[in-house]
Every structure is written in C-alpha cells, then in structure tokens.
Symmetry: C2
Subunit: 146 residues, 2 copies
DNA sequence: ACACTATTTATAAAGATTATAAAATAATAC
DNA sequence: GTATTATTTTATAATCTTTATAAATAGTGT
C-alpha cells in the first residue's frame, strides 16, 4: 500500500514540474515507509549508505519542496528540530513527553472548531493543528515497574 | 487587571522559592502587559532600555524558570524561534499565515479529544494543544483592496 | 552586617537551518 | 543521440537560536 502512496507522490511531483532525482526518490521512499516522523538529520543519516555524498542541504531543500507541494507536513514540537510527516489522510498526534514517541490517531469533527474560531476572530481559517501530550504505554509500564 | 495578574504571578513565584530579581520582575511585567506572544529576543530588546547590561541568557533562563513553574507557556510554531505566552485561562490561538498575528479564542470541550486519544493510543494524556491557521481580517482586507 | 546560595553577566559553544557558488545532472529541443 | 539550458546537488560557510560555563553580583535569612 505504501508502494502506491509513493507512486502517487511521484506522479504528483511530476505534475508540478519538479524533477525526480534519485535523492528525492529516496527521501520520499523513506518518509512513506517510516512511521517515526523523522527529523531532517534522521533522514540524512538513514540515506548515508545509499548516498555517501549527499549533502544535508539536499535533505532540507527537498523537504521544503515537498512541503510546498503539500506532500509533507513539518511538525514543530518543543524540541530543537522539526519533524517531517508524509501527508496521507488527516490525523492527529499523541506525543510521549518521556520518550518522544509519536502515535497517530483519528478524530472527526474538529472542523467545528475552525468555524467557531473564524467567527470569533474574523480570520479566514484554512486548517488547524492539534496534538495531545502524555505518557505512552511503554513509559508508563517502566514507571510502574520501578 | 493585569496589575493583579502580575501580583499573583510574583506571589506564586515566591511560593515556590524562586527569588524575585528586578530582571524577573521586568520580564514578567512585560509578558503580562504584552498581547503579542513575544519571542525571547523581543523581550530582550524591549528591556534593553531598563537593563542595558542584561544578558540574553538571563531572558532564556528566566523564561525556562517561569515555564517550569507553570506561569508561562512556550509556543513553537513553524518559524525559527519560540514564543512565550503568559498563562491566564485556557485558550487557543488563531495564527495569520500572512503577517504572523496571533489572536486568542476560547473553545470548550476538547477534553473529549483527550479521552478518545487516550483510549486509542494507550497514552496517559496530560494536556493538548491546538491552533487554527488562516488569514486575519487586516490581511484579507489588503488582498481584497488590491 | 555576614554568610550562603541563587542569579546574572559575559562569553563561548552547540545545534539546526539557510545561503552561496561551483560542479553535476536531468529534461528538452534539435 | 547530442547539445543546450535550467535545475539540482554538493561542499562549505554563515546565520540564528538556544544552551553551557565560570566568574562576578546580588537576595535572603540570620
């Protein structure tokens, strides 16, 4: 299934006139396959084997390109570096404050919030973002055990 | 009214054994008075007049202290630097993607999301964050006029 | 006023991201 | 298929935000 996501993404890139280089292919492939919301550095390190000469700038440049085209979302949490998330269907994130793990979950109906916010603030609202923070099961277990 | 907020904040600090220095007083005062969710640098520059010798580190250190005590929230949006928000009552933010303006709004009932997320992901959820993004009235007006 | 400890300052260091210019490479026209 | 052109990659340096460090200073309790 992620096969198809990748192919769709590449098609979508072609459609906007962005060249498909081996590096771009690899970065996209990694993003689609990864469930971990990696940082730019994660991606850089992961592809070091395949592309020993690839520059960090290439990773950043292409993540920006993907973001501008709408294939990728940039997530900025409290920690120092951004995380990048391949955009599939709308979902939200639960973030472990102990180990940093990020788990997806779905929730319908938050469009309502957009409407209210728009009404109250006078904004034209395009989209929203939301996360929940807490402790994941693994970390909870460790604390119990102690 | 912000007078009272400031006094409460100072009392709350004293209660936790944190010393009240002139710099801390000034930073808190600025945060309480400001409706603009300033960056550390904004605060630093704003207090330059009163404290010509103040170090940037002081601003960062104290913002961390305030955050740890719960007086201040750190907001990380897409841009390069964090913004700091004096915690009053729970509210959310509408962010203008054109000019960066941040407007507060209230919305009840998102605790429901925490429950569902907890159920689905197995997390112990402590809190959540949410924002809406769009175009503020001023920026919309400018676009229309053009 | 004295002693003790937290805090500030000045400075340097770290880390993430962006800018720049030259070299390499993909798409396009022929 | 080759030449051309514009894009992209690489390598490197620069920038910017934030944190670490150590000496100087200032609050607080006695």
């Amino acid at each position: 299934m992620s096969e198809m996501q990748l192919r769709d993404a590449l098609d979508s890139l072609k459609g906007t006139g962005v060249r498909i280089t081996p590096q771009r292919h690899a970065i996209l492939e990694y993003l689609v396959g990864s469930m971990t919301h990696p940082t730019a550095d994660d991606i850089y390190k992961a592809l070091e084997g395949k592309f020993p000469n690839m520059s960090v700038a290439t990773v950043y440049n292409n993540l920006r390109v993907f973001r501008e085209v709408g294939l990728v979302k940039e997530l900025t949490y409290g920690d120092s570096s951004s995380r990048f998330d391949f955009v599939t269907t709308d979902h939200y994130h639960a973030i472990c404050q102990n180990c940093g793990k990020i788990v997806d979950f779905h929730y319908p109906g938050l469009d309502e919030v957009e409407h209210l916010a728009s009404h109250v603030t006078g904004f034209k609202v395009n989209n929203h973002r939301m996360e929940v923070y807490g402790t994941c099961q693994d970390c909870s277990a460790v604390k119990e055990a102690h």
